[in-house]
Symmetry: C2
Subunit: 249 residues, 2 copies
C-alpha cells in the first residue's frame, strides 16, 4: 500500500511534503483535504490526525503529523533519498533541526500571521486585521533578516552553507511562497531588502524543478485571481471589500 | 573541555536542557545568561548564538541553539543517555519529533503568551496586556486538552503511551511549569480541568527528581515572592501596580 499524504496545496507545509516525495521518487497517493471546506475538521480526518492539521501521512499502519517530523521520517525510511536532504552526519543534522525548530515561532509565525490578516482571512470567514498584519510583518521581516545574516552567510547557495538543499530549505522557502498571495507592492517591500534571500529562493526553486512549480501551480492561480480582483478594484491592498467573491478563491 | 550550556533558569527550555544534562550525568558548565539584564543581547553572546536566544550550547568547536535540537543532539552524542529519552526506533522517534514540532505553535505559544501578558511583562519593561493574556489562555487550554485526549491516551504514564519519559515529556512539562508564576486561582482554573495532565506533570517530576526540583528552585522562589506581593496587595491578579518592585524579582 502506497504512502498516503493528506494535504491541501494552498498549505505551505503540505507543499513541502509533496515536493519532497516527488523529487525523491517516493510513491505516494495525495489525498486532498480542502481547508476552506473545513475537511480537516471532519470525523473521518480526525481518525487520521486528531490534531486536525495538515499535512498528515499514513504509511501502512503508521500515522504521523507535523511537516518537519514527516520530512525527517520520509528521509529516514525511504532508501532513495539523497543524503543532503537530511544528512546522516550528527552535526549537520543538529543544525538542520535548529533551523526547523526556529522556523515555527519566527518565519512561520510572522509569515502566516501577515498573510492571514492581510489577504486570506475573508476566505476563511474571518475579518482582516491590519494591526495583526503589521505585527506579523515585523516578525517576518526580522526573520528574513536573520536568515540572510546567519544561515545564508558563507559561500554555499543553501542554508547552513550547503551546496545542495536540505529539508530546511524546502520548508522555509515553501513558507515564504505564501507571500505570492499578497499585493505585489507589499511583497516587494517585505522581500526586496533581502537580496540573498531572493537568490536562495530562486536557487531552491531551480534545484527542485519541475516539481516546485507544478506543486505551486494552485498558488500561482490564486495569485493571478487576486491580482485581477485588485486591478478591478474589487479588493484593495490590505482589505477585501464585502462584495469580493473571496470564498470561491 | 566540558560542554557549555548558556541558560537562564527562569527560561523553560533552558531548564529542560539543564535537567536533561544532570539526569544523564553529562558533564557540563552552566553559563548564566541573565534575561532581565538583557545579557542575551550582548556582542559576546552574539558570538555564541547570533539568534540571541537561550538556551544555546558550545560543545568543543560546535555551537547549537534551540532547545529541542540541543536535546536531540545531546541524546545522540553522549553515550550514557538511556534510549527512552530519544529512542533509536524510527517510528517512536518520528512521534517524538511530531510532539516537539507541535509544541512550538501550540503549548509554548499559548503558555508563553499567557504568562508574559498576565505576569512577566513589567519585569521585562513591557505593559501587561489582558487581551493578549486571554488569547494566550485560549491556545494554552486547547493545547492542554489535546495533550490529554491525544498523547496521554492509553495506559502509559508518559506521552505517546510510554512507560518512561522522553525529551518531549521534559520539554512540555518545563513549559507548563511557567504557570507556577501565575496567581494560584488562575493556575487552578487553567490546569485543574485536565486531570491526566496533572498526573503526568507529577509523574515527570518524580521521574526526574531530585534534579527537577533543584533546577526549578529559582522559579519556586519567584513564585513565593509573587504570592507575597499578591497577598500584600502590591500586585493583583492579572495586573501589577506601578509601585510593585517587579524589576527586582
Amino acid at each position: 500500500m502506497a504512502l498516503k499524504v493528506y494535504a491541501d496545496r494552498m498549505s505551505q507545509p503540505s507543499r513541502a511534503v509533496i515536493i519532497f516525495c516527488k523529487i525523491n521518487g517516493i510513491d505516494f497517493e495525495e489525498v486532498r483535504i480542502d481547508l476552506p471546506k473545513r475537511q480537516h475538521l471532519t470525523p473521518e480526518f480526525r481518525e487520521i490526525n486528531p490534531m486536525r492539521q495538515i499535512p498528515a501521512i499514513v504509511d501502512g499502519r503508521f500515522k504521523l503529523s507535523e511537516s518537519h517530523a514527516i520530512l525527517i521520517y520520509l528521509a529516514c525510511v525511504f532508501p532513495g533519498v539523497a543524503d543532503h536532504w537530511y544528512p546522516a552526519d550528527l552535526f549537520k543534522r543538529a543544525k538542520i533541526h535548529s533551523v526547523l525548530d526556529w522556523h515555527h515561532l519566527n518565519l512561520r509565525r510572522g509569515s502566516a500571521t501577515y498573510v492571514l490578516n492581510s489577504v486570506l482571512a475573508p476566505a476563511l470567514g474571518l475579518p482582516l486585521n491590519p494591526t495583526a498584519a503589521a505585527e506579523g510583518e515585523k516578525i517576518l521581516s526580522a526573520s528574513l533578516a536573520k536568515i540572510e545574516s546567519v544561515w545564508l552567510k558563507g559561500s554555499g547557495r543553501f542554508l547552513l552553507g550547503s551546496s545542495q538543499p536540505s529539508i530546511a530549505d524546502l520548508s522555509l522557502v515553501c513558507e515564504i511562497m505564501q507571500l505570492e498571495m499578497a499585493d505585489e507592492k507589499d511583497r516587494d517591500r517585505i522581500l526586496n531588502p533581502h537580496k540573498r534571500v531572493l537568490k536562495w529562493i530562486d536557487d531552491t526553486k531551480n534545484a527542485t524543478r519541475p516539481h516546485f512549480d507544478e506543486v505551486h501551480s494552485t498558488l500561482y492561480k490564486v495569485k493571478e485571481k487576486l491580482k485581477q480582483l485588485r486591478s478591478d478594484g474589487i479588493i484593495e491592498t490590505g482589505s477585501i471589500k464585502k462584495t469580493a467573491p473571496v470564498s470561491k478563491m
